[in-house]
Each structure stands twice: as structure tokens, then as C-alpha cells.
Symmetry: C2
Subunit: 213 residues, 2 copies
């Protein structure tokens, strides 16, 4: 397809497509003339990825580039490549690996395998230390329960993971993270609404009450 069709099908305006081409976030099309090129499904998929990273994830272009570089050259270890790609996604917790005593203790309570000093561990440390500073410590029973629930979510996500190539696996993990995190958080807030509305005494808040048709 021509660049105009690529723009139309992807929902990314032509000037932005050209900008992504110049920035090498989108691979060049196959030249069909001095000023024209042919694009295909691969380009559409890449644009969907870049768009999700920029518009949903709010990633700065430098971080988008990191993700693309990992997808284009994952290297020998898929696990390590996944780690590098996911580390480019927010929340950013600093580049310096530091001690993560709270996270390591929590992961031992959860009996989960993990890569020490990976971004996930640092994000967990940061979340736990913020809870602690605010005087909300999470006791081990609650942590185990939450860990089990979140693990179940991850298991259902991974069920559909493609097994084709490293590049697709990384793309899937990145998109899954960027797109599923907002979904999980929105559902969490709405589950609280549902619980509140279910608990509210009859007649209370009727103006706000909605739905179960």
C-alpha cells in the first residue's frame, strides 16, 4: 500500500508517519520509484506499536527507540531482551540498580523466581517503600493473596502469547504491558464502584446508582 493508505489504515497522519520514518522508528517501505514506496502489514503493526507507546504509554521518543532497537536486535537471550524492552516502559525508577530489601523479602514470601536488580524488582521496592512511608504496610497474608490474584491475571495474559519469533514475543509483551495496565487499573476502580454501590444502604445515593440492567 502507499503511504497515504498506510496513514489511513493506521490512523497515524502522513506527516507523523514520515517523522517516524526519519527517526527510524518505522522501517522503510520497498522503493517503487524515486519518491514512492510500498508498505505492508509489517509497517501497520509497527505503527500500532509506536502509537500505543506514545499515546497510551506516554513514552518519550528515546524510550520508544530503545523498545524498537530491542525488537530489531534482541540478542541471544530472550529473557534479557524482554527485560530491556520492559525497562523502557514507565514507571521509571532510576537507572542505578540499588538494594531492594523490601522487594526481595516480598518475592520470598510469594515464592516467585525473579531476576535480581531487574526493573520489576526496583518498581516493587519503590511501591513497597512508598506504602511504608505512608504508614500502610502490607502484611504477609494480604501480600500472598494479592500476589496470587495478580499471578492469575498474568497467567491468563500469557496464555495467548505467540511463540513465533523473539521479535514478536517482545512486541507482544511490550504492547500487553502498555495496553493491559490501564485496563487493569480502570477495572480496579470500577470494581470499587460496584462494591460501594452494592454495599450502600437502600435508598442512599439513588441518583448515582446505575446499571445492572
Amino acid at each position: 500500500m502507499r503511504i497515504s493508505q498506510l496513514a489511513e489504515r493506521s490512523g497515524v497522519p502522513v506527516p507523523t508517519v514520515k517523522y517516524y520514518l526519519r527517526e527510524q522508528l518505522l522501517m522503510p517501505g520497498e522503493a517503487t520509484g524515486a519518491t514512492s514506496a510500498e508498505y505492508d502489514e509489517q509497517h501497520l503493526r509497527r505503527l500500532a506499536l509506536v502509537r500505543a507507546l506514545v499515546e497510551v504509554g506516554g513514552l518519550p521518543l528515546a524510550k520508544v527507540r530503545t523498545v524498537i532497537e530491542v525488537i530489531e536486535g534482541p540478542g541471544p537471550s530472550l529473557f534479557e531482551a524482554l527485560g530491556r524492552a520492559l525497562a523502557a516502559l514507565p514507571p521509571y525508577v532510576g537507572d542505578e540498580p540499588g538494594d531492594c530489601p523490601r522487594a526481595e523479602r516480598a518475592l520470598a514470601v510469594l515464592d516467585q523466581a525473579y531476576a535480581p536488580q531487574s526493573t520489576g524488582v526496583m518498581q516493587l521496592e519503590s511501591a513497597l517503600s512508598a506504602l511504608e512511608r505512608a504508614g500502610h504496610t502490607v502484611d504477609d497474608d494480604h501480600l500472598r493473596e494479592l500476589g496470587r490474584q495478580v499471578h492469575a491475571i498474568a497467567e491468563s495474559e500469557i496464555a495467548d502469547m505467540p511463540h513465533r519469533g523473539a521479535d514478536e514475543a517482545i512486541e507482544y509483551a511490550v504492547l500487553g504491558t502498555i495496553l493491559y495496565e490501564p485496563l487493569i487499573l480502570a477495572l480496579r476502580r470500577l470494581a470499587h464502584q460496584d462494591l460501594y454501590l452494592a454495599r450502600a444502604p437502600a435508598g442512599d445515593e439513588t441518583d448515582q446508582r446505575a446499571g445492572r440492567a
Copy 2:
């Protein structure tokens, strides 16, 4: 306690405490002289809240002020007050209530009660429409499974919710959201690590493999 002790116990530096006082994000202490005042546990709790909103949630001061105003004057409907306070937390999806066809359909599938046009519904619409744009539609079975898992998380969170006053309930919901969201997301990423390491063929990635001690 004096302002210096308040600063020490809260971990917020004196100049920042003074700034929050001027901005009316922290209520004044009880005057004990022309230039001195006494602070108590209520001030400590408020500082923990403001700090979490600023440092963990990354809220701009105008949004922090909205949260504080709701806590200080919740009005007659707790549900509506909770909605206003939570709407001040990211992700921001625009102020204009719009149509939310995907979210409404999803909530019908989940059989959940909700307040139409609330921020949670708009956040869900935004998450689902981003998934759709990226070509990742969530089928109803997957949605029901995810909804059930997230609902279970919300149920365990709500179990400890204080029932004292509206202000405390709002404070608890706001802090819970700001502090638990990063925890849930960090645990999700680490659950994926755990699943990956559990599935990886023996001998693969041994350098990255870590500890179930």
C-alpha cells in the same frame, strides 16, 4: 510537636512543610506564640497523604488541592465525593464526559453497577479503545476472567476500609489507589518474570535465573 519534629517524623523538609501550609494543603497548627505552633497526628497524616500524591502519584498541586478540598468538605453524598477525589488522580482522560460504548458494553458483560460518565468509566473506555486501535480486542471470556480477578483484588482492599468518617474513607480510597496501583503493576510484571523463568527450558538463561532460595 514543633514544626521541626513534624518535618523529621514525616520525612518532609521544613521549607516544604511551610510551603504546604501557605498553599493550604496542610491545615495550620495551634498557635503557641507569635511565630510558633503545635502540630499533631492529624498533621502527620495529612503530610503522608500530600507526599504520596506528589511523590508517588506525580499529581500537580492543583489536583492535590482538589483532593484536599473534597476531604475537607465532602458534601452530603460520600459516593459523589469519592468520585470527585478519585477523578483528581491520574490517568487523566479529559474533563468532558463523552460516550463510552465499549466501557458500557464491558460493564454489562461484567454485570457490574457503576455511575455513568464517572472517570472510571471514561478510563475504561480509553483503555479498551487503545486495545482496539492496536488490534488487540479482549474477548468476553477473557474480560470476564480479568474482571473476576480484579474484583477479588478490590474486595480484599476494601476489607480493611475504615468506617469512621467520610473524610477518612476518602483519604483511604485516595491513598489506596495511589499506593496500590504501582504495587499491582509491579507484581504483574514480576508474575510474568516468574512464569517465564518457570517455563524456560532447563539450562536456558541460567545466568538470569534467580532465586526461589
